[in-house]
């Protein structure tokens, strides 16, 4: 539960995310989706309740949790006045990665920015910057991916990339994605959680959800 002043932004949300799962968090604006994600990402402290990430209890063991989390939001979270390479090398140092050079090269290559690796991020288009942000989020090979409207700034190439990453999570990783694009959410995720005014109104696996029917139910729930 998380309060902002008198308002409860997130209330009574119970989520269990297992390895190999991808959860889509849907809901209208102001439903508390981002707040929930930020709490899991250790950026916000809950006023009540517990969060455990990969065995680390927040907020006491936040340091351990942070090693396992990769976070990507609307902003790519990169320094505009550093080059792409310098940005990733910084994060490699912050995460304590062995052979940072190779990892950075590999990450840049994966998002298709290897050719621009010596250009400052300021010269990038929005899509490229967001791709760099994706590289940053994936650099340390996080166990838990936390994404907040990640497709908002991604260009077509980046979107394809992220689709690939999410489809290919493997049995050891998990992802939690906040999005307002219902179709994309149920296509990519194995489970769906719908929030409204901070409260959960629906939580079920997507295999049971048929696109159009789900859409109709969703509209009804959030109206």
């Amino acid at each position: 539960m998380r309060r902002f002043g008198e308002r409860r932004a997130v209330d009574r949300v119970d989520v269990d995310l297992a390895a190999g799962e991808c959860l889509a968090v849907l809901g209208p604006n102001g439903a508390g989706k981002s707040t929930l994600l930020r709490m899991v990402a250790t950026l916000l402290r809950p006023d009540a309740g517990e969060i455990t990430v990969c065995g680390a209890r927040l907020p006491d063991e936040a340091g351990d949790a942070r090693r396992a989390i990769g976070y990507l939001g609307h902003d790519p979270l990169v320094y505009l006045d550093l080059t792409a390479r310098q940005n990733l090398e910084l994060y490699a140092d912050l995460y304590g990665l062995d052979d940072p050079r190779d990892r950075v090269d590999a990450a840049l290559d994966r998002v298709g920015l290897l050719a621009r690796s010596f250009d400052t991020a300021r010269t990038f288009s929005r899509g490229m910057a967001q791709r760099l942000g994706l590289a940053r989020a994936l650099l340390h090979e996080p166990v838990l991916l936390l994404l907040d409207e990640p497709y908002a700034g991604l260009d077509a190439a980046g979107a394809r990339l992220l689709d690939g990453v999410l489809a290919d999570l493997g049995p050891e990783r998990a992802a939690m994605m906040v999005t307002h694009e219902v179709e994309r959410g149920i296509r990519l995720a194995g489970r769906v959680l719908v929030l409204r005014a901070g409260r959960p109104v629906l939580s079920e696996p997507t295999s049971e959800a048929d696109g159009a029917a789900f859409r109709a139910r969703y509209e009804e729930l959030v109206a």
């Binding site: 309060r3 902002f4 002043g5 402290r45 006023d47």
Partner: protein, 234 residues
Amino acid sequence: MSSTTDARPARRLAVTGVVTGALLALSVYGVFFVAPEDADQGIIQKIFYFHVAIAMVALLAFLVAAIEGIRYLRDRDPRHDEVSCICVGIGLAFSVLVVITGSIWAKASWGTWWVWTDPRLVTFVIVLLLYAAYFVLRSSADGERQARYSAIYSVAAFASVPLSFYSVRVARSFVHPVVFNQDGANMPDSMLAWFVVGQIAMIGVFLTILQLELIQRRADRALRRVKARLEAAA
């Protein structure tokens, strides 16, 4: 809601208030009618007794504020923030009194309304600035952040108090190697008792105001809750 009808705080306040009032009256009587008048400065010197007592309580208030700040950071209970804030307010008000009484004292002792050479006086001016900034900080943030930032600053500001005092003291000690006692006349033993009474009375004033404020705020909150409920029902 039991807190709206909880009579214990009000009763505690009554007790504190009465005791404080009695002690205050006693100490005023003692200082002005029983204590011997100082040969040089006459009646003005009597202010000195209250000046020191008020200064001590101001520092006490700031210490409590810092401690409550730390407690807030530990468990994020807004009550600690509330107490911390009130204590800073009381401390600030008392500090103003310290500066005013100090100025009067300076006029009586040295003939001018202000001196930069008294470490205590200068420290309290710095204290005024430090804790006025506390309220500026509070007004710049809301909600949880306001409480958290205030708590952090209350600790930092309190650390500044002894540092300010000693910086002025050290500076003065190099200019006037003989550290003369600027407390004025040494206190005769007969006066010590009255001084202690006065000191306790001042602490009582602090506690009384603190309790008064807490009760007032609680009542405010209860009133707002009732209003909100009425509006929701309407």
